[in-house]
């Protein structure tokens, strides 16, 4: 059995979302998983503990979330693809290291199986409360990528994509699942290894004496990344630094550095950000949602369309960077947009920012535990057809 076969279990299976995420990580070439047990993400750790060593990788259980992400970043700086999985509470603990990873541009994948909060909240119930903390949680300013799966199939697909984005943009990437998607079981198809497109980080093309560690010479704004031990005398520190890695307090340098960290993602938002749409024709009313809630929203939109009430359905596959362009273009034809989400109204603010000029934006909040039913979303939208 080849290593590729150990990593890619091609076939169709009935899998739990968290298991599908583990399969995705293996297929993407993850070599180290470090995590701390937490509901509802633990199945990912259990899966990796069993499967990763057989595929040549290492599973290590951190003494806490801080240790776990630290180990992930260490392994990634040494050249391995690495991942951790936790819930919102764990993300709180990891925030300093998330900023460190953004600043030092160390690729990593962080799975957040969101649970009901605030605080300890309800470990076994869902919420979409972390959409801001993964975007804005650490100090300073940086951009980040966050993907929101809505099915076990996407737990597989988007985990692979998360690794690809992490490598491509040298950034932490979040797989922002929620308890419902993590624990749901559905049919998952794992394609043959050769059909899975994998991206590896750029390595320097110049010898060490000509290498400038943080100089981005390509339009993508991403500097090539050697690993520790490659002989490049890598200076890795989260001090504000010049292109050579020298710490500096200079304004011009700070301006150049922070702008680059921001722009290397935000300037590529159009190619990174993806949405799923359905029933756009003639629709003047739309529903925008993400993650598990989008399953109910899709039902609601379909039901209304069957009744002759044209409602557009849009699902955000990428939460960050926010799909401004895709929404702006469609919103011009809309008069009302409904945003059901399992929190008190968070991404609705982004929708308002982009679509608010064209359409009236309504928040449909629900603070976790129970997901919206299709009927609830349907009822809210029906009044637009009265």
């Amino acid at each position: 059995m080849t290593l590729a076969n150990k990593r890619v279990r091609t076939g169709t299976y009935f899998l739990q979302g968290n298991e599908a995420c583990g399969e995705g990580a293996l297929a993407a070439g993850c070599m180290l998983f470090a995590g701390y047990p937490i509901t509802p993400a633990t199945e990912i750790a259990e899966f990796m503990a069993g499967r990763l060593p057989r595929a040549g990788g290492i599973y290590i259980q951190g003494e806490d979330e801080l240790a776990s992400l630290g180990m992930v970043l260490g392994a990634s700086a040494a050249g391995w693809k690495a991942m951790t999985a936790t819930s919102g509470n764990g993300i709180c603990l990891m925030q300093e290291e998330i900023g460190y990873a953004a600043m030092t541009e160390i690729p990593c994948v962080i799975v957040d199986a969101q649970r009901a909060g605030p605080g300890t909240g309800i470990a076994t119930k869902s919420m979409q409360g972390d959409v801001y903390q993964v975007r804005y949680g650490s100090n300073g300013d940086y951009s980040i990528i966050a993907l929101a799966p809505s099915s076990p199939q996407e737990m597989f697909d988007l985990t692979v994509e998360a690794f690809n984005f992490a490598e491509m943009y040298r950034t932490p990437v979040f797989l922002l699942a929620d308890e419902i998607v993590s624990h749901m079981r559905e049919r998952v198809t794992i394609p043959p290894a050769e059909k899975i497109h994998l991206i590896e980080r750029k390595k320097p093309e110049v010898p060490p004496d000509q290498f400038v560690p943080f100089r981005a010479e390509t339009p993508d704004g991403v500097p090539p990344m050697p690993s520790f031990g490659d002989g490049y005398a890598l200076p890795v520190s989260s001090f504000a630094r010049s292109e050579t890695g020298r710490p500096t307090t200079d304004f011009k340098n700070q301006d150049r550095l922070v702008r680059r960290l921001w722009e290397k993602i935000e300037n590529h938002a159009d190619s990174i950000a993806r949405v799923e749409t359905e029933g756009l024709e003639e629709a003047r009313v739309a529903v925008i949602s993400y993650g598990s809630v989008s399953r109910a929203a899709k039902d609601a939109a379909r039901n209304l369309r069957r009744q002759g009430k044209p409602v557009a359905f849009m699902r955000l596959i990428t939460l960050w960077p926010f799909p401004d362009k895709q929404i702006r273009e469609l919103a011009k034809q809309w008069k009302a947009v409904f945003v059901p989400e399992m929190n008190m109204g968070k991404m609705v603010r982004e929708v308002e920012r982009v679509a608010g000029k064209f359409a009236e934006v309504f928040s449909l909040p629900k603070p976790g535990v129970d997901m919206h039913t299709p009927a609830e979303i349907q009822q809210a939208m029906e009044r637009m057809f009265a």
Partner: protein, 288 residues
């Protein structure tokens, strides 16, 4: 230093550590106060690397925050300047991915046992092949001399104006209980012994803990009237008792003294070696 009399042979003397010093280091030549013990340990570390003849491209220096945490940023090869308290976690990740690298961590007493205390005991328990050189100068120097978990009771720091109310940790004893497989404690006075201990630590396949008691004349020394750097080193020397001698002394005579020497050595499976062996076995089983 003896200067040569012939003017044509007179070249600018180069301090031996500069051969390992990063040219574009911040705050050139370095940020430590005059008389600080951290610079000495920087020298001892490079000496140990030289004497072992290590390929410096495969030697990673890791640090966190504070005066000691900054040591890595002057190393001319790969360095990993991580977050306060987390140096050992980052170092563990590197070691797992690149077992052929020598991974050295320098950490101060505040960092390694206060904010990083959990990682410290667990790195020792796992017996990851990392050498931790802990510089214990009994206080947080960088932030202005606050008390740390190793500050002796009743002494003065900027946050113990009435004398320290807490009891200090004995780091080397803590490390023995946690599972480190090589433990030594010396002071900055013991240059040769520290160099040898670092060499042994690097050669030990497992978690090595080398505690170096150091003077902080600017903060700790000043507040406790211990004098300048030289006087503080004399104080360290006068209060250090070799392990062999200490074993024969009654406990009351050891109060306030520092027991120095090679305190402990043991052999047990190294974490990443063991993980790899287990994984290879699992993969082999799958093939059959």
């Amino acid at each position: 230093m003896n200067e040569k009399t012939t003017t044509e042979k007179k070249t600018k003397p180069v301090h031996p550590v500069l051969n390992h010093f990063r040219e574009d280091s911040p705050g050139t030549p370095h940020l430590w106060c005059p008389g600080c013990g951290v610079g000495q340990v920087w020298h001892f570390t490079t000496k140990a690397i030289e004497e072992l003849g290590l390929d410096e491209d495969r030697v990673l220096w890791v640090g966190g925050s504070g005066c000691t945490g900054r040591m890595c940023t002057y190393w001319h090869k790969d360095f990993f300047h991580t977050l306060h308290g987390r140096a050992l976690s980052f170092a563990t990740g590197v070691k797992l991915a690149r077992p052929e690298m020598t991974v050295l961590v320098h950490s101060g007493d505040g960092e390694c046992v206060a904010i990083g205390g959990n990682h410290l005991i667990h790195a020792a328990r796992r017996n990851v092949d990392i050498t931790l050189i802990a510089i214990n100068n009994f206080n947080y120097g960088m932030t202005g001399g606050q008390f740390s978990p190793t500050t002796p009771s009743s002494v003065y720091t900027s946050t113990t104006p009435y004398g320290n109310q807490e009891a200090p940790f004995d780091l080397s004893t803590l490390m023995k209980e946690a599972g480190a497989t090589y433990i030594a404690r010396w002071t900055t006075v013991h240059a040769r012994q520290v160099i040898n201990a670092i060499k042994k630590g690097i050669q030990n396949k497992g978690f090595s803990f080398i505690e170096v008691l150091a003077q902080c004349p600017t903060q700790y020394g000043r507040r406790n009237k211990l004098g300048d750097a030289v006087q503080m080193m004399e104080w360290l020397k006068a209060n250090s008792i070799p392990k062999e001698k200490a074993e024969k002394m009654p406990p009351e005579e050891l109060k306030g003294k520092f027991i120095i020497g090679e305190l402990f050595a043991d052999t047990r499976p190294e974490f990443s070696d063991y993980m790899r062996a287990v994984a290879a076995e699992a993969a082999r089983k799958e093939e059959t």
